[in-house]
Symmetry: C2
Subunit: 224 residues, 2 copies
């Protein structure tokens, strides 16, 4: 299996972590989104949609992080055992999170990062205050929903149960994207911070390896 990804892309890091913590064999290729390498004509033979992250297994192409996660669950037993609950009702809650996050913390967090940090750096200009505040609202609302609804049950350390799942990994890669900007998502959100610390502890040293680029970008290497 060949895996194509970029460290700056949150779902790329999520799949990378899933592969590493489960010891799935793969050959990794970093493709630079910044240099639009995924849009080069030759990349069409890797992925027909020219999207990252993606896998290519002897010519079989698959993009979209949740689809890749599901495929890994079907084809690699360790992923099933460790990061994908088997009870249908718990499994469905992981699916619910993975769908929910796309229009909530992913949208808000990634766009807050882009408008507040990335675009101003690239364009050497002031941030567009209106855009930043729109996405900050979505982001903070999503973070509050994770703290108050997803993590409401005091018996659950993680988003879906008392065991880590791919949902928690997806949440943490989004948190790290937000942290690059200097925003602290854990202020007044103690359950979120606890979940994040637990995910880090369970997935290191791969967690820090996957986020090295983020830490450098934010110059906010976290103290643990």
């Amino acid at each position: 299996m060949k895996y194509y990804f970029d460290w700056i892309c949150p779902p790329s890091r999520a799949i990378y972590l899933l592969l590493k913590v489960n010891n799935v064999p793969f050959e990794g290729f970093v493709v630079s989104l910044k240099r639009s390498e995924h849009l080069e004509e030759s990349f069409k033979s890797v992925n027909r949609f020219q999207r990252l992250p993606c896998i290519n297994v002897d010519g079989y192409q698959l993009a979209e992080s949740v689809a890749i996660y599901k495929y890994l669950c079907k084809t690699f037993l360790p992923v099933i055992e460790n990061y994908n609950p088997q009870l249908p009702k718990e499994k469905a809650l992981v699916d619910e999170y993975l769908e929910w996050q796309a229009n909530n913390i992913r949208l808000g967090g990634a766009m807050y990062f882009k408008t507040q940090w990335m675009f101003p750096k690239l364009l050497k200009s002031e941030a567009n205050i209106e855009e930043v505040s729109t996405f900050k609202y979505v982001m903070e609302n999503s973070l509050d929903t994770i703290e108050d609804v997803w993590l409401a049950d005091p018996n659950k350390t993680f988003l879906v149960s008392d065991k880590i799942s791919f949902a928690d990994i997806m949440a943490c890669v989004d948190l790290e994207q937000i942290r690059i900007t200097g925003y602290n998502p854990f202020e007044n959100r103690p359950k979120l911070e606890k979940m994040w610390k637990n995910v880090k502890a369970l997935t290191n040293p791969f967690y820090d390896e996957a986020h090295e680029v983020c830490y450098k970008m934010g110059l906010n290497k976290p103290k643990l």
Copy 2:
């Protein structure tokens, strides 16, 4: 199983169709998004996120259409047999479509419908041309990708294989949302039209039942 939905919401119609064509027993409740019935305090006991569509099975709450589809596949055998391919590589392509569509035809189509048709009707004002053209671009780009990439293989009548799947149903409910506005998604897209006709033929009379509200809104009851 109790199912809460609104006819005007494309994923609501998709799950409704999946339930009906597979003869899954359920009790259905229409919840008006227009009247914000899902945001009433009492609806929190139905779904903690107050989102549609959602199911409630003896108190077990689940929202997000793809998560509901996955849950039905796990719990109702007919859904597995008819609308969810069993080969891991085909199943993954259905998952890939279901994730891809969210930021493509769903985003473009639903927002084109809202900005071009719904907001002007509700607010009794002119459409915001800039907004409409932004979403029209996303929508047309997505429709072209379905025609040229998803349906590229002449041996496949449907999005993933030569058999209908939930991906095709999801595509068609989005097409109907677009058709309300009077836009014809099938112009110069013959493979898309063929797929849509096949989905209709295989899912009627439920397809027309689920889209009665759309047909009336668009006054464009299709001739077949």
